[in-house]
Amino acid sequence: MRDPDSRAGNKLIRLPRWLTSEHPFPWLFPASAMLIVFGLYPVLYSLWLSMFKRNPATRIETFRPSWNWSKVFADDRVIDAVSVTLTYTFIALTIQLVLGLGIALLLDSDRKGFGLLRSLMILPLVVPPAVTGMMFLLMYDGSFGVISHMLYGLGLLSPSTPILAGGTSALWGVIIADVWQWTPFMVLIMLAGLRALPKDPFEAAAIDGATDMQAFFRLTLPMMSKIIALAVLIRGIDLFRIYDYIKVMTDSGPGTATETLTAYAGTIYFKNADFPYASTVALFTLILVVIIANLFIKIFKVRF
């Protein structure tokens, strides 16, 4: 980029000075500005907020740096929320991973019509999560919901306890909505990985005597391991921050049976108006995510 003139077709275009700069600043500025405004500033502001003790009644905030942090570790609801969040993340992630890989394997074909199937598969991703939540809320409805109706029909659920009313079943109810919406994302990543696998080793394996099953476990899985790890990481972080489905479908209920960390932070913020404590819980969630994600990256040697 030493020459400020660059040729496009036959026309000589003189680019403005700043577009030909060799200095990194103009190139890094837009992304840096975004990160600072929408990433760094909120985190630092939350950190600042978390150092105050707020009296919701008097609305007076006093500077007490350790107050909220000691409260987090003593709060039973936080402990419960961590457990719900981990359970939710683990179950949803496992189902999405297995289903995602399975469906991707089925769709990994050059036969006619599979391109269309692959596009159709992605459709759930375009629905806003809150709308998905509402949709499933209606389908779970005790008196007219189609899913409830089917489950009653199969004798799996009694009309007296709708899915979202039971402590355990409510979490499953939310997970099913999440699985419906986000499995396609897994399929998308897995398909990208599968389509990019070289064909030769599979032919070599067929000649070496491998059955399809053996080829899957000894070639496909190991060759896909990096992609699987990446998909688990991305989805895992996403699932850990689950908020919309819980908010729309159960509002953390029944009781606090489906209260995740972010849902709890939301409750403290919007219902109790204890902004400093809500910030603390949110920061605590962030710290947990960072720790778990980094452990995962270390253990499974994920490379970007």
Binding site: P198, D200, P201, E203, A204, A205, A206, I207, D208, G209, A210, T211, Q214, R218, L219, P222, M223, S225
Partner: protein
């Protein structure tokens, strides 16, 4: 045992027929090279023998067994791929042991066979490395090691040397030939490189557009090409071809193009008046600076070391002669050319089929 018999084999992709009735017998223990330009169907034929492509019609048998509908794993063949097709997540040792692991072979035997293959291919120092830590030639050896540990009935090679540099290719060529002399396993080898075919094969099968043009030993094919395609495809620099017709001369039948006439072998089956292509290989054109012979003008001189390639114009035709003497040839020099009469090839100008010399 490991003979391969192919009868009237046809391959179609949808409506497109790419192999049109191939008949070929590879005798047990022979090294057969399928040679032809890109798209001639040689790789497809090999992959059909391997079971990686389905058979549209016709039969393939390995030994006495018809294998048309048999899964590749049941054919007891081993294949070496152009891109090596190594298992990237496995070490060299695991790559070679893979087929035996699938069969749950005892560990002692696995070790024994892997070590045996590694010693043959000089791979011992690399057994615990991964493919990405190896050079191209080493990877190719691993691919061969993976093939030989299985002790297959037939080896299939699909252009195994085309990703290697020139020097390594020569070396691996020799190694593959040595390996075959040692193991005496039936081998079918696909290449588009005529030097590989000539140097390695017991038998060369020349293919074009999905049909076999000629089958024979390398020298037989070189000396007696059945048709113009084979004559042009084999040999580098290629055979000189002059188009003209047969005339009756004083000493018998002669070939004439423009005002140049050339002698023909005594018993040539060519008929007077027949339009023909006169073919002579560059090394069968004796070039000298003086004396008698056909007069040509030098255009380009290419010294290769052992010999000198002389490109010249003769009666409007571009021709090439190979001189072994290091004379001081220069462009625009006049050149005297004497074709060796018993090495002349004649092809019918219309059918492109060789006319027998007698």
């Amino acid at each position: 045992m490991g003979s391969v018999t192919i009868q009237n084999l046809v391959k179609r992709y949808g409506g497109l027929e790419v192999l049109h009735g191939i008949d070929l017998t590879v005798e047990d223990g022979k090294f057969v090279v399928l040679l032809g330009p890109s798209g001639c169907g040689k790789s497809t034929l090999l992959r059909m023998i391997a079971g990686l492509e389905t058979v549209s019609s016709g039969d393939i048998a390995i030994g006495e067994q018809r294998v048309n509908d048999m899964h590749p794993k049941d054919r007891n063949i081993a294949m070496v791929f152009q891109n090596y097709a190594l298992y990237a997540h496995m070490s060299v040792r695991e790559n070679m042991a893979f087929s035996m692991r699938l069969k749950k072979t005892a560990q002692a035997e696995v070790d024994e066979r892997v070590n045996w293959a590694a010693s043959i291919l000089s791979l011992e120092p690399y057994l615990d490395r991964f493919p990405k830590e190896l050079s191209g030639g080493q990877r190719q050896r691993v691919a061969m090691g993976r093939a030989i540990v299985r002790n297959p009935d037939v080896f299939l090679f699909d252009e195994p040397l085309s990703n290697l540099d020139a020097k390594l290719r020569v070396q691996m060529r020799k190694e593959i030939k040595e390996l075959h002399q040692r193991l005496k396993t039936t081998t079918v080898y696909v290449t588009h490189d005529q030097i590989e075919a000539m140097t390695m094969a017991d038998q060369v099968v020349i293919m074009r557009d999905g049909v076999i043009e000629q089958i024979g030993t390398p020298l037989d094919i070189y000396d007696n090409p059945d048709n113009l395609f084979v004559a042009q495809f084999i040999g580098s620099p290629g055979m000189n071809l002059l188009s003209g017709e047969i005339v009756q001369g004083a000493g018998g039948k002669m070939f004439q193009t423009g005002d140049v006439t050339c002698e023909l072998p005594q018993n040539s089956a060519a008929m007077v008046g027949q339009k023909v292509l006169y073919g002579i290989r560059p090394e069968h054109l004796q070039a000298s600076m003086q004396g008698s012979g056909l007069s040509a003008t030098v255009t380009v001189v290419e010294p290769t070391g052992p010999e000198i390639h002389l490109y010249a114009t003769l009666a409007g035709h571009e021709i090439c002669a190979i001189a072994h003497q290091r004379l001081d040839w220069k462009p625009d020099d006049e050149l005297k050319l004497n074709p060796m009469v018993d090495r002349v090839h004649l092809f019918d100008a219309e059918t492109k089929v060789a006319i027998p010399a007698g």
